[in-house]
């Protein structure tokens, strides 16, 4: 059995109001497109990036550093894609 591909990165949260319902929904939706198992870690807790409720429970405020880790065949694409969403300030930037 081939080794799982693991890919990870750390991003900082720059949208104005932190990980609230709408950005959390956006991340979960994006993560769900990938096969890989994706986790988001913040403040010593690690949650499933495909679950809006999990992401909300992180309660990450603006300015937080989040670690994203993906494990699976499309891990690299998943991390890159999520990174680009965070870089766009979760679509809230105008």
């Amino acid at each position: 059995m081939a080794e799982d591909i693991i890919c990870e990165t750390t991003i900082s949260l720059h949208n104005e109001f932190g990980l609230h319902a709408r950005p959390a929904g956006r991340i979960a939706k994006a993560a769900q497109q990938f096969e890989a198992n994706i986790m988001i870690a913040f403040n010593g807790r690690e949650v499933d990036a495909k679950s809006i409720l999990d992401i909300l429970s992180l309660a990450a405020p603006s300015g937080s550093a989040l670690r994203i880790q993906a494990r699976g065949d499309d891990a690299r694409y998943a991390v890159e894609h999520l990174e680009s969403i965070f870089r766009d300030n979760l679509g809230e930037d105008r």
Binding site: S51, L53, A59
Partner: protein, 589 residues
């Protein structure tokens, strides 16, 4: 047999007599808890999954039906869909069926409780309160488990709809041609349900605890004036209310027919009657009720439920549409009055001991200049398409006013440099709602184009009482000599400086207070659209002479009880018929 009465908060006037239907009854009732045998696990799990799927399909259908102008509702429904789709949530519920050998409803409750526990540790109050969304979603799933379909539309007659709460999704689904009134067990004066009811002009009551006890198909009287719901009324009550309903409908069609006539007294004094609104959708109610423009657009309401801050373009689009629909009549945009009881989800509540005296309204805007400037730009950009005025809340002194003006003129210069067009002469006004502003009204009047006296806050800050606090609300006295002198002083100071003075606030919609305001020779009043036809009618039946006379008597009174009695006696003898259908801020003596 004595009939049962439930009491709630009336949010939309009128009377309805009919049979009831309880929407999503299961959502708030106790959950059936049953242990199951291992052979039934597969069946129970698939019932649970089916419940999730049916609820999901239903929400997706609703989302498609959401009109484009209700973007916030769409966003809420969308986040509910995400919660329903949350694999972990569904899996956790299914796992409980397997591991505990319990029925689907009980397992769902366990899964919700787990999430609640996780959320309860969160410090961010806004995120913590999102557990409400999870509960609403779980309620929808549970109603699918019981297999209730919303079948009130198959009933031959129009029903009185009862519910624990009406979510935005529920209100979009309402079959309006089948509903004559509604009541909810939860909610307060400003709930969304009330705004919907008023715009549909059906009677409604919110916050009526214990509604669950009413059976489907019971006959009830729903009294949208007093907030009472009378279950299985007796012959006498039925006769009384049928008669009252007829009289109200006669009265109402009469005042509606005449609502476009100007509010001119018998002796020819004319008062401009404008509307207070909170949401864009209410603009139709302004036009329907004979409003002569919008005197107070409370701009913060349109995004209080939203998760993201609106951009300048979002605001511009809303303001542009508002300005052009109401044109040639005017619209006064009151800049964001956030803080105190109006908290945007983005900022969450601040850590303040006393928010009413804290960072709110103009203070909040000055400390968040990005937001403030974006709103000013949006209002100015909309000014080319209509008759637009701008107004700033909670001004406490000259220094503060000059700072706000500096920002305002700075934004205008910036727009000129960018070549963005706006009307040069957009009237610039302020709200007088703090006692400090009252006493320097003569100074402030030289700096602005108009005043609007916000009586709700002025009474609260002058008398030092929070009227939603039931221990002290009896002290909320619009006819307190201090309040009347304040209002009179501001009006006189404004007129001395040659500027217009408006009163917005509940006293403007109060049939007992209106003759006194008339006597002070106000230029305009601004009130909720539904109250306009009645107030216009009262104005048309008075004379300026008698208003001035009443004002004089009341100004001489040094006791509020005496003033109240004076006004009640006077108005009651002049307008006995009207007052049956009004509630007043003036206490009964």
């Amino acid at each position: 047999m004595a009939s049962k009465v439930f009491k709630g908060i009336p949010v939309s006037a009128g009377l309805a007599i009919g049979r009831t239907y309880f929407l999503n009854r299961e959502a708030g009732t106790s959950i059936v808890r049953i242990y199951i045998v291992p052979e039934h696990v597969t069946q129970e799990v698939s019932r649970l999954k089916q419940g999730f799927n049916t609820a999901l399909e239903e929400l997706e259908k609703i989302l498609k039906k959401v009109p484009v102008d209700l973007k916030e509702q769409a966003a809420i429904i969308d986040s509910h869909i995400m919660i329903l789709r949350d694999k972990k949530f569904q899996k956790s519920a299914c796992d409980y069926v397997k591991s505990r050998l319990i029925n689907a409803e009980w397992a769902l409750e366990h899964a919700v409780n787990d999430i609640e526990k996780a959320f309860s540790r969160i410090e961010d109050e806004y995120i913590r309160s999102r557990i409400q969304d999870v509960r609403l979603v779980a309620g929808r799933v549970r109603s699918k488990l019981y297999g209730q379909s919303k079948n009130y539309d198959s009933k031959p007659e129009r029903m009185i709809l009862l519910a624990h709460d009406l979510s935005p999704a529920d209100t979009i689904e309402l079959k309006l041609e089948k509903i004559m009134a509604f009541a909810t067990a939860t909610g307060g004066k400003t709930s969304h349900a009330g705004i919907i009811a008023r715009s549909l002009q059906i009677p409604a009551i919110v916050g009526a605890e214990g509604l669950e006890m009413i059976q489907d198909d019971d006959i009830v009287i729903l009294d949208g004036f007093s907030g009472r719901i009378i279950v299985e009324p007796d012959e006498k009550e039925l006769t009384h209310y049928t008669d009252l309903k007829q009289r109200f409908s006669d009265y109402y069609s009469q005042i509606k027919r005449n609502c476009y006539l100007p509010a001119e007294t018998i002796d020819g004094y004319q008062m401009q009657v404008l509307a207070n609104i909170e949401l864009f959708e209410e603009v139709t109610a302004v036009i329907d009720n004979g409003g002569e423009g919008i005197g107070l657009y409370r701009t913060e309401y349109s995004f209080l439920n939203r998760n993201s801050w609106p951009s300048e373009d979002d605001l511009y689009e809303e303001y542009r549409d508002m300005a052009s629909i109401i044109y040639p009549q005017k619209v006064v945009f009151r800049t964001f009055d956030l803080g105190a009881d109006k908290i945007s989800p983005h900022f969450g509540p601040l850590d303040e001991v006393n928010p009413a005296l804290g960072l709110r309204a103009i203070r909040f805007c000055q400390q968040n200049p990005g937001i403030f400037r974006a709103q000013i730009r949006a209002i100015l950009r909309a000014s080319t398409l209509g008759n637009v005025a701008i107004m700033f809340p909670m001004i406490s002194g000259l220094q503060e006013l000059r700072e706000v003006k500096e920002i305002y003129f700075n934004v205008r210069e910036e727009m000129s440099r960018e070549g963005l067009p706006f009307q040069e002469e957009v009237p610039f006004g302020i709200m007088i709602e703090l006692p400090s502003a009252v006493f320097i009204a003569d100074v402030l009047a030289r700096e602005v184009d108009f005043f609007s006296i916000g009586t709700n806050d002025l009474i609260q800050y002058s008398l030092g009482i929070d009227r939603t606090n039931r221990y002290v609300s009896y002290l909320y006295q619009p006819l307190h000599p201090a309040i009347l002198r304040s209002i009179k002083y501001v009006i006189d100071a404004g007129h001395e400086a040659g500027i217009e003075v408006n009163v917005c606030g509940e006293v403007a919609a109060d049939p007992y207070c209106i003759p006194i305001l008339m006597g002070m020779q106000l230029d305009s009043i601004s009130l909720n659209p539904q109250a306009i036809p009645g107030i216009k009618r009262i104005i048309r039946q008075t004379t300026m002479d008698e208003c001035k006379d009443l004002l004089k008597q009341v100004m001489h009174s040094s006791q509020v009880h005496q003033s109240n009695r004076l006004v009640r006696d006077k108005i009651f003898t002049r307008f006995p018929e009207e007052l049956m259908f009004y509630t007043s801020l003036i206490e009964e003596s």
